[in-house]
Symmetry: C2
Subunit: 343 residues, 2 copies
Amino acid sequence: MQKEITIYDIAAKLNISAATVSRGLKDHPRVSKATKKLIVKTADEMGYRSNSFASNLRKKQSNVIGVIVPRLNSNFMADVLAGIEKVVNNNNYNLFISQSLETMKKEASNAKAMLNNRVDGLLVSVAYDTTSFDHFEPFIKRNIPVIFFDRVFDHAMCPQIYIDNYKAAFDITNHLIKQGCKKIVHIGGNQLRNVYSERFQGYKKALEENHIEFDNSLVIINDLTSEAGAEAAGEILKMDPLPDGLFVANDICAVGCMQALKKEGINIPDDIAVAGFNNDPTATVIEPPLTTVNYKGHEMGEAAAKLMINYLLDKQDLQQTHGLILRSELIIRESSLRDKSKQ
Amino acid sequence: MQKEITIYDIAAKLNISAATVSRGLKDHPRVSKATKKLIVKTADEMGYRSNSFASNLRKKQSNVIGVIVPRLNSNFMADVLAGIEKVVNNNNYNLFISQSLETMKKEASNAKAMLNNRVDGLLVSVAYDTTSFDHFEPFIKRNIPVIFFDRVFDHAMCPQIYIDNYKAAFDITNHLIKQGCKKIVHIGGNQLRNVYSERFQGYKKALEENHIEFDNSLVIINDLTSEAGAEAAGEILKMDPLPDGLFVANDICAVGCMQALKKEGINIPDDIAVAGFNNDPTATVIEPPLTTVNYKGHEMGEAAAKLMINYLLDKQDLQQTHGLILRSELIIRESSLRDKSKQ
């Protein structure tokens, strides 16, 4: 195994002082351009690596940002992570990434590992069942910034980045009503999470504004998987009379439900008009293509990372930004577009 | 900001020696169970955090494994990362994750950052255009293990984990031939990458074994995006006579191509039987559902991480495992299943 190369080795080889080598590597103005070039070239050839690890320890910063997401293998989260990585990497920070696998218990253990490894900041989208902030308190106590994105937790010290789920759900439900739907089923997720409770509230508000009475028996709460969508289709088919509209809180579940409904001979959109949420790749592949809300994961990741980096570099006051609401857009496709002449 | 709590603070509070606190926190047998319990409870209450950062520096290990992937936002890679994270996290290691965005230049800069941050090992799936191993040499020189997965680079010191792309492509092409296809188009990716060159070779071998002459004008090489698939459909429609089979090196491109062919009135599988690769979620949503190769990303991630962890914990000889070939399976769906009576 190669011995670690030091600035003294480089100095000896070039027959100059270690101080000059150190200055040259740090691009100090007192070292001439030619000497700098020679120092950097020699350092590279000898396999020198800057000791960011030890120097970070001295500076009491790690240049590492921690990220905890519910699951790595979700289309949306993969987009968010790609956006975060791009910004973080361009700013010479590194990313620790872990997944809570949707449980608060693993989220807490991930947070502890991040703390022990001295992350400079933490970006979190909370797990399905997270009910407490306790595991994030140690960060707040140490002035380590915690920023929530998408699935947020309300805390005065923690900025939140999300889309207006309430408005998006209102708009998409309103669209179904404008297409003639009068009995609209909603399939939603755990109401502990802002993203799902706000989509549910937006659905209710649209019914109210259109003078359609809210009926709790039309609301199905499940874990929003494809399988849960197929199961929900079974429940929907038992409703009498059949509903004529369906708004599902994510596309995976909406597509699973559509496939099961189609198998039973239901015509979409004529019998039941369907809308989802997220604009997953499957939304454009299912027939008919799925009306949905385009939710820009990459941009959300970039925004969260930029807020963090700006805080770490400029020590901006994080409390000034409490919430950052990103734009989303309704994408209307054939799954909800009815031929008006048939109605 | 809270002052960092030390073992001396805990010792003062409990009126015991710092050595006892240190031993208690390390679960040393000389400290009684009751005292250990009290020490851990007090440490938690006071907000003590173990200094893994500094202790890792002393041990000259970071307990961090670096991962470089082409893109974070790919279904397959997200599955792989989820598998890696699970194993790494269960073994109390942390993950640095970065993406090369498919260029060797960024891959090299990512590798340098990983090296400077003292990762204990590196897991890599190489970028689209990587032609040199130079940026990984510094790891080899320092005995830092580098393991390649999926898109591998041939190097005596680096184990490789992949599926038998050659055999999977042979099997799927053979299946198309058994369904009656005689003129089969292949859409493939950059032939620098093992995954794409082997799929191409497997396709050629199946033709040869079935006495079908290889025709280079039936091979389309592109970047395997959905848009490239739609473009390829245009080329296919110009072929005279039309081909009767199509094997695409990934599902995203296969689905994009199918959608474009269907728009032009091509019946799948009767006019053209289609097969993809990866078993992406869209493969079950497209109509007709797509025949493909099931490629277990999560398992590949777990296998790569386990190999790395075993090496780091036991200093197993990495050279003993040069290649680890994972199982893949042909999944036959309607896109390639022809009604024999019609032929």
